[in-house]
Each structure stands twice: as structure tokens, then as C-alpha cells.
Amino acid sequence: MAKGIKLHLKVWRQAGPNEKGSLQAYTLNDVSEHMSFLEMLDVLNEQIIQEGGEPVEFDNDCREGICGMCSLVINGIAHGPQKRTATCQLHMRHYKDGDTITVEPFRAKGFPVIRDLVVDRSSFDRIIAAGGYVSMNAGNAPDGNAIPISKEKADLSMDAASCIGCGACVAACPNASAALFVGAKISQYSFLPQGEPERDRRAVRMVEQMDEEGFGNCSNHGECEAVCPKGISITNIARMRREYLKGVIS
């Protein structure tokens, strides 16, 4: 196999939530272009373990771009340079021999650092708990085809629903706003008759929970859409605002 490339890494190391962190330099001498970014970090960790150090902690699970557990801000861009791609599906062929790569955690008040590159995103769960669902108990659903839904609306709903909850929108936003995440969830239900009965309540509760978690205010920079692994549109943020205002007034 061809020899891989040499990389200089600057990785955020932080021992705990209240410890002070810093960027630490590492060098990897033989990185294959076929590696995924996370596999490159695996190799780094094996190297660190061999040298008797403590490996870099980073969140990941499915490694196929759908669970939303991987994160990382890579050279200043959440999920790295490739469009519509989560970190786990970013591959090293996008880098050249001798490149320096800075790896930082997602940073926001709503996402406190736990250790190294691992952050706590439970704020998203609390926002969903405030209304990101249809309130129905198992067992009393009508037939699936009882209410026709136009294909266009179902597709728009699916566009919004494809959110993987990774939080890159927050990480990339200059204001650390969670508007795209919340907007996507509110939008998903706003297209469906099933979401109708609690539409106002949902929008109001979710937005107010979002604010309570300390996320910033959306200034319409649109960075969120640009880093979203699913390319979710900021149209959903506008829709959230409509839904919220309607909810507040009614």
C-alpha cells in the first residue's frame, strides 16, 4: 500500500468540565487517505496509548452519519470541510501531506464540555421533552391511511425530520443558537395533521425551553444550514418563528 500522509494535529484536551483546557500538538506520520476522520483519531489514540498517555475522548457511535453522536469542529468548521457530511463520514483524502488540523469540541453554553472533545448535549433532549412529539398513547391510533397527507407536505415534513440532532448548527452559529434544530422539529409536525392539535403549545414550549437552555439568538447568518449534515434549510427557522408568534397570540 502506498505510504500515507503526515499530519500535524492540534487537539483540544480538557480533563474535566471545570478544568482548564488547551490545544495539544500531536504528529501522525502515516495516515491513509482511505481512513475516516474518526479512524485517524483512533490511530492517534493507539499511538498515545503506546506512549503511555491518556487517549483523546471523542463521542461517536454509528459511524455512518445518522446517529448524530459524532461532533468536532475541524479547522474552524463543524463536521469539517465536506458539505452534508458528518465527521464520521469525512475521509482523510481531503487532506494533504503536512497539513495542520485543529480539532475542537462543539462550543456553546448549552453544550458544556465533559472531557476533551466530548460535550453534553442533553439540552436537546430537554427541548424535545417540551413538545417534540405527538401526544398520543400506544394503542389508539386510527388506520394509517385514514388521513391522506399530500406527498408534497409529507416530503417537506421528512426534509425537516431528517435532522440527526448532532448540534453542528449550534456549534457553527456565531451566536450558538439552536434555532435550526428546534425549527426543524417544529416544522416536521407543522406539515402533518397529526401535529395540528397541539401545534401552538408545541411551538411555545419548545422555543421557551430553547431559551432557558441558554442558546443564543438566531441572527440569520445561515452557517447552520451550511454545516448541517442533512442540509436542513433555514426556511425551517422562519417557520418556527411564525409558529411561535401564532402560538403566543392565540
Binding site: 462550543r107 457553527a172 451566536n175 450558538a176 439568538n217 440569520n220 422562519a238 418563528r241
Partner: protein
Amino acid sequence: MASHSFKTAFRSTIFKKFSMALTGLFLVFFVLIHMSGNLLFIVGPQAFNEYAHALVNLKPFIYIIEAVLLIAFIVHIWNGLTISTGNKKARPNAYAQLKSAGAPSKKTISSTTMIVTGMILFAFLIIHLISFKFGPGFNPDPSYTAMMGEEPIRDLYKLVKEKFASPLYAFGYIFTMLLLGYHLRHGFWSAFQSLGTNHPKYSGLIYTTGIVLAVVIAFGFLVVPVSVYFKLV
């Protein structure tokens, strides 16, 4: 529904942006009118002074308009400040590196400097009011008096000419008006987004309109200082 109170709603991030947007669009409308009025300067002293006179004598509407403008400015500025400080708090630890991911991002120098351009515009506004509205001739002053038929009116034309003869004032003004253009470049379309009116069919149009409007307003305002300073009128 209503498990909420209006009090919470008023403090919500969404409502803040909503009021930013409403006041912002109102102010855009105001500067557009202001800019159009300024262009009368090119027509000549008589037209300019008579227009200014008519405007201040539009009683009692002028008081209402001024009051609304004042409120709009206060709300816009106050919300701008609180949003900005809130956003700082939302990311207590800054990135060592943060870059734009590129299209479809709408992040521009304009969008990231709204608070800076806004503050400068605010400072300018005060100087501007002192210089012109409350400047020489605000109280009847023989050296700043022109005639509208039989009636003596304020000679604002003369004041403008005097002010813009100064390079500092002229270029300060030009610079600030370019910043206004920057402010509007993001501000206009962003206001629509904040009002919840983004729609794939129209958002392109709104975005382009914002850019055109920013250019038109900024350059419209440049006409007077440029023509005075370079003695084109």
C-alpha cells in the same frame, strides 16, 4: 392554549428578533424617504429648503412620526444590544478557530458586524441630529434664513453646504453611509427571515432586493456630500 404569559414571550429570543425586524423595516422605510428628500438638494436651494420646511410644519403628524421614530430607534438599539450580549453569553469559551463553511451560508462581513455598524450608526445619528436638526437655524437665525415667497424659512441648504465643505465631516458622512449600506445588506432580508416570511419561492427575491436596496440607499446618501465637497453644485 397558553401555558405561557406574554411576559415570557416578550423576553423570548424570537420576539426580540421579531421586534428588531419590525422596527428595522420601519427604519429602512424612513431612511429611504430621507434619502429621496436629500436628493432635492441637487434640484436647488429653493426646492430643498421648501421641502424641509414643509416637513417640519406637518403638524401634528410630524410629532407622531418623530415619536414613532424615536420608539423604533430605542427598541431597535436596545434589542440589538441585549441580543448581542446574550449571544456572547451563549458561547462563553471562544473557538481557537471559527470559519464560515461557505454557501449556502449567508454569513458575511455585513452579518457579523451588525452590532458594530449599528453602534457607529447610532453615534452618527446623534452627531447628525446635533449638526442638522438642532443645528444653526433650528431657532430662527438671520444668517440661516431663506425666503419662501413672503415667508422666512430655515436655510438648511446653506447649512448642508457649509458642513460638507469640511473634509472630516464629508468623509465621515460618506463612510457612515457606506456602513449603513452594509447594515442593510444583511438587515433587510434578515428582517423578513425574522418575521417568519422565508419561503423558497420568494426568499431569493427578498435577498436580492435587500442587496439592491442597500446599494441604492447608501449611494443615494452619498450624492449630497460628494457633490458639495467636490463642488459639483
